[in-house]
């Protein structure tokens, strides 16, 4: 007993607009209503959503397993702080640089790993993720080793927000949300465009995708670079509120948390990334405010096992199905017919060689 509406009908368009309006209002109005001290929960949610989005590009869209994405978040964070502290870059300008840097690192890892089929990328990223800490410590001249590195620079709010501590926090929130939205739009466009279709073809059958002219290896490397780059942007976002970075924050546990978040939200869904990001950002807050001392690994591990066993397409997949019970969107009747794809609307006939009997 669900409400059936036709795609493109007034009801359908209205519902979609209402949905986006709700999201826009909650993103823009919530920060005005929430006391500014709690605002960090909101911006951490946005930041981690971007990190999860990055991993989801690899896992969900490209079908490649990465077990070391924390390293890419770390590369982004270090790029941000180093450029700001040592080279005097304004903080905002470091965000794209962090993404570019992580893209390069991800691409470099993808080049050897993705030439081979199988779990080699998982293995290589696991190794790189484990080696991230030691490498950072070794490059002490650049990263300041175990002491961590900070930058005195802060985001300066525009004059219309005022210059109080509170205005500063609201500005941080707005900037992070703006970057996060930009990242989601970027990935959504890629997924809908040619790269996304190529990936879709590769996921169903690599060999036949290759037959249809998809350069499988290069597409995978680029998508893995993009995946790393998006997570690198999240690393920079992590630094925007107060730029200080240590390597311990990007240990393997974080990679596994990100992987769990992708699963909990839903592999290959955009909205699932927000759910996953919320889990990472809110879990420590929820447990401490409930007064429970529990190892995060225990919670994430249990969540990952339960979700893989019982909710194979994550919370968002479950929600999509629940939504179907309320509202069913009937697809628009197809108007195009086969054969009128020629340059001037004329039917195109293709000669094919049938195999001999």
């Amino acid at each position: 007993m669900s409400w059936r509406i036709e795609e493109g009908s007034a009801a359908h368009v209205g519902l979609r607009r209402l949905w986006w309006l709700t999201i826009a209002v909650s993103v823009l109005v919530v920060p005005a209503a929430v006391p500014s001290l709690r605002l960090h929960l909101a911006w951490e949610m946005a930041t981690w959503s971007v990190a999860v989005l990055g991993l989801n590009v690899a896992v969900g869209f490209a079908g490649q397993i990465s077990l070391g994405h924390a390293a890419f978040v770390g590369v982004g964070a270090y790029t941000c702080v180093i450029l700001s502290a040592d080279h005097g870059w304004p903080l905002l300008a470091t965000v794209p640089a962090a993404g570019a840097m992580a893209f390069v690192v991800g691409f470099a890892i993808g080049v050897p790993a993705l030439r081979f089929r199988g779990l080699y990328l998982a293995l290589l990223t696991l190794a790189v993720g484990t080696a991230f800490g030691p490498i950072v410590k070794r490059m002490e001249w650049l990263t300041n080793g175990t002491n961590g590195k900070g930058s005195p620079d802060r985001l300066v709010p525009p004059s219309w927000l005022g210059s109080t501590r509170e205005a500063e926090r609201r500005w941080v929130y707005l900037v992070i949300v703006a970057v996060a939205v930009a990242m989601f739009v970027l990935v959504a466009n890629m997924v809908r465009g040619r790269p996304g279709r190529a990936l879709e073809a590769m996921r169903s059958d690599e060999l036949s995708a290759q037959t249809f002219g998809v350069n499988v290896a290069v597409t995978k490397m680029i998508m893995f670079g993009v995946s790393a780059g998006v997570s690198g942007v999240a690393g920079a976002l992590l630094m925007l509120p107060s730029p200080f970075v240590t390597d311990s924050r990007f240990a393997q546990t974080l990679s596994f948390q990100l992987y769990t978040a992708v699963f909990v939200g839903g592999i290959g869904t955009m909205s699932g990334c927000v759910v996953g990001g919320a889990v990472i950002a809110l879990l420590p807050f929820v447990t401490t405010s409930l007064g429970i001392t529990v190892e995060p690994a225990l919670v994430f591990g249990a969540a990952l096992v339960v979700v893989t066993l019982f909710f194979p397409d994550g919370l968002m997949g479950w929600w999509q199905r629940a939504k179907l019970r309320l509202v069913e969107v009937v697809p628009r009747h197809p108007t195009a017919t086969m054969g009128d794809d020629g340059p001037d609307g004329e039917p195109v006939f293709v000669e094919i060689d049938l195999p001999p009997r």
Binding site: L124, A131, P134, F256, A297, V299, F300, G301, V305, V307
Partner: protein, 313 residues
């Protein structure tokens, strides 16, 4: 020469540990096509189990009081290790039955998710119950400062020798089990053709559970052997597992013999490159593993002793 021999000896015990863990991975991979990312954590937990069994009752380590009252611990180290390895067989088989059988045939993501989640869960449980302290673990072999054979000026410690011999003996026994017994025959049949073996009346589930169980026991043994050097703590297996997966991959993932070769090859590369190239040292040894892996795969994509896979459209 003396330094070279010393490094060679150091590589031997590491190599045996990598080889055992890598063989454990191939046992599971061969039978069910899954890479067991939980192996490191389950081995770590088993090592904690052995630690509890050899430690006198103390409030500082959870479980020791209970074990003292009900099991009469502390036990001698070798007994504790054997007990934990046997318990790991049961645990491994249980994991296969309860968890892995449900994700069989699903996507690689789901399989990785299940083993990774299990690993996280075990790690969290260990941190929750044993804390994050480092514990010393007594070696089951003589390990005094004079317990060593001197060869060419280099010291081959009894501990190193014992670790290598025990693990190699276990691997040899495993080979006999797989090649000479009916159970092993059934296991190999399942590994080579699952539905075919089911049709001729082999209990496929039992073979799969056997693979996971044996893998668990090997992991527990390797953990207990490496523990005197690494100390017992919740993160002790992180780096080891990476080396083990790399070793198994270098060997070809479906070949236990290849896993042994890969294990020793990686240990050799680790100690030699780490020793002779100061820029690498001990802390960047993971990069050595990556380099060896990529070098081998570039020449032989199916691994040293692996079977070449052919795709059909």
């Amino acid at each position: 020469m003396q330094l070279f021999l010393q490094r060679l000896f150091d590589a031997v015990s590491n190599g045996a540990v990598y080889a055992s863990l890598a063989v454990a991975l191939t046992l599971v991979y061969r039978s069910s096509g899954m890479l067991n990312f939980a192996l490191g954590e389950s081995s770590m937990f088993a090592t904690f189990g052995a630690l509890v069994l050899v430690t006198p009752a103390t409030p500082r380590l959870r479980g020791t009081t209970w074990a003292h009252q009900h099991l009469g611990t502390p036990w001698p180290v070798p007994v504790a290790i054997v007990a934990v390895a046997l318990a790991s067989v049961v645990f491994g088989a249980l994991v296969e039955r309860v968890l892995m059988r449900r994700v069989e045939g699903r996507s690689t993501m789901a399989v990785v998710g299940a083993t990774l989640g299990l690993g996280l869960l075990i790690n969290g449980a260990a941190s929750q119950s044993f804390g994050n302290a480092f514990w010393a673990f007594r070696s089951p072999f003589p390990h005094g400062p004079r317990d060593a054979v001197i060869i060419g000026g280099a010291r081959l410690r009894y501990e190193t020798l014992g670790t290598a011999l025990v693990l190699l003996a276990v691997l040899a026994a495993l080979r006999v089990l797989l090649q000479k017994t009916r159970t092993g025959l059934a296991f190999r049949a399942v590994a080579s053709n699952r539905s075919g073996s089911a049709l001729v009346g082999i209990d496929v589930g039992r073979s799969l559970a056997l693979g996971w169980g044996l893998a668990g026991a090997l992991g527990a043994l390797a953990g207990a052997m490496v523990a005197p050097n690494t100390l017992v703590e919740t993160g002790m297996m992180g780096k080891l597992l990476v080396f083990a997966i790399a070793a198994a991959t270098v060997g070809g993932l479906d070949s236990p013999a290849g896993a042994v070769v890969g294990g020793f090859l990686l240990a050799l590369a680790e100690t030699m490159l780490g020793g002779y190239v100061p820029a690498i040292g001990g802390d960047l040894s993971l990069l050595v593993a990556i380099a060896v892996l990529l070098a081998v795969l570039a020449v032989r994509p199916q691994g040293l002793l692996g079977r070449r896979r052919v795709a059909r459209l």
